[in-house]
Subunit: 202 residues, 2 copies
């Protein structure tokens, strides 16, 4: 089973491979990837050992094959559907983010408690009243929920999601959610990035 | 010097302390913090050892003191100013994010190459034409730049920032930036979060 830190680096390797593909590079070695990302070759080699592909001695990996294998591994060529709750500033930015589809996630519908937003369409996604969440989640068999509501509302929304059969929650609100053990929660915390940036600038 | 993984956890501890403060809790132990975040008490104790505060035996830390010390440590009570480049969907969401100020970062101005945006004001922040970036950065002694332009434009914007004296870049574009060694770059990569979430849901 791949450790989380290695897993988080795979999209970065993918990014490098996309660049190399644009430059028509045919083969790439772990050392080259490491150099471009400021990682050690040992780290890269270890991370890529979880990918089902063997490199050529001296040459390294075929760029297009490694890129495809990472996409397979990460499930970027399958299509998960998600419902987003909180069609505010951050929610709308996420709806606009076309690249999510390339990463295997399609936001199929958005929900909000603001009655003025119900019926609106942002970037091709319709906003429904939050009261419709459970019924639509069930009907469309949605397993992933995205939370982009203010922190004091996040737990309430998480409860609705859990009750509706959502299995994985991507949480952008700065609030620790309380959910049953089998529900996966992925928190996005901008403060952590900012803390590291500030500290390095001191 | 505090290791980066410990540094990234400090804002999470801060979040817990804010909750406890709202509940009028006076003291908190490492075990309690650990339990609330699903960390080990050893980890929490190690992370907090970098903070300049001593807990009481049995009781633990005084909640308000630990919260203040973490804020001091992270520089959240000082105020760094940043210029944002790319007043599009994600850029505007960041401009709307009032909580950045609590974390010590104020976005003082935004810049864009779209002539229709010059002179606009979003959430109290004025958008200037990108041609004004260097002059204003110099005049206002800005050290931090935020990049929220499309990936193909990111390097171009980073070059302008470096030339203008920016020392730290918060990069939201999915592109690896090439900058001089002494310039700090903090990348935000949503794909990494998504990869972990998808993998855990398999
Ligand atoms: N704006 C950013 O760049 C940014 C960055 C990082 C984190 N965040 C976090 O993301 C969240 C959203 O931020 P924002 O700036 O988009 O806020 P916002 O106020 O613009 O949007 C919140 C939306 O959620 C809706 N909402 C509130 N309670 C609801 C509920 N119970 N059910 C359904 N909908 C509900 C509101 O009607 C509103 O449309 C916040 O938790 C914020 O801390 C935002
Ligand atoms: N929208 C999201 O939720 C989201 C999430 C993650 C990452 N991102 C990344 O953030 C970036 C912005 O995404 P977006 O959805 O806001 O795009 P967008 O197209 O809405 O906004 C980009 C803005 O940058 C401006 N711009 C482009 N080139 C410029 C240049 N050279 N100088 C100055 N301004 C320039 C454009 O005029 C536009 O206003 C992209 O790299 C995207 O991959 C976005």
């Amino acid at each position: 089973i791949i450790p989380e830190p290695s897993l988080r680096r795979l999209p970065l390797y993918h990014q490098i491979l996309e660049l190399e593909l644009e430059n028509n590079t045919e083969f790439i070695s772990c050392s080259k990837i490491a150099e471009m990302l400021d990682f050690t070759p040992i780290q890269v080699r270890k991370d890529l050992s979880y990918i089902n592909l063997i490199g050529m001695p001296k040459k390294g990996y075929k760029v297009i094959e490694l890129k495809d294998e990472i996409e397979n591994f990460l499930g970027w060529n399958r299509n998960d559907e998600a419902f987003l709750v909180g069609a505010g500033n951050l929610g709308k930015a996420l709806l606009s983010y076309a690249k999510l589809k390339d990463k295997g996630l399609t936001i199929t519908a958005a929900f909000d408690k603001n009655k003025n937003l119900a019926g609106e369409n942002f970037f091709g996604v319709t906003v429904f009243d939050i009261s419709k969440f459970q019924e639509l989640t069930y009907r469309m068999k949605i397993h992933i929920g995205i939370i982009t509501v203010p922190a004091p509302e996040a737990q309430k929304v998480a409860d609705i999601m859990v009750k509706s059969g959502i299995r994985g929650i991507w949480n952008f609100a700065p609030s620790k959610l309380n959910v049953p053990e089998k529900i996966i929660v992925q928190d996005v915390n901008l403060s952590s990035y900012l803390a590291v940036l500030s500290q390095k600038l001191k």
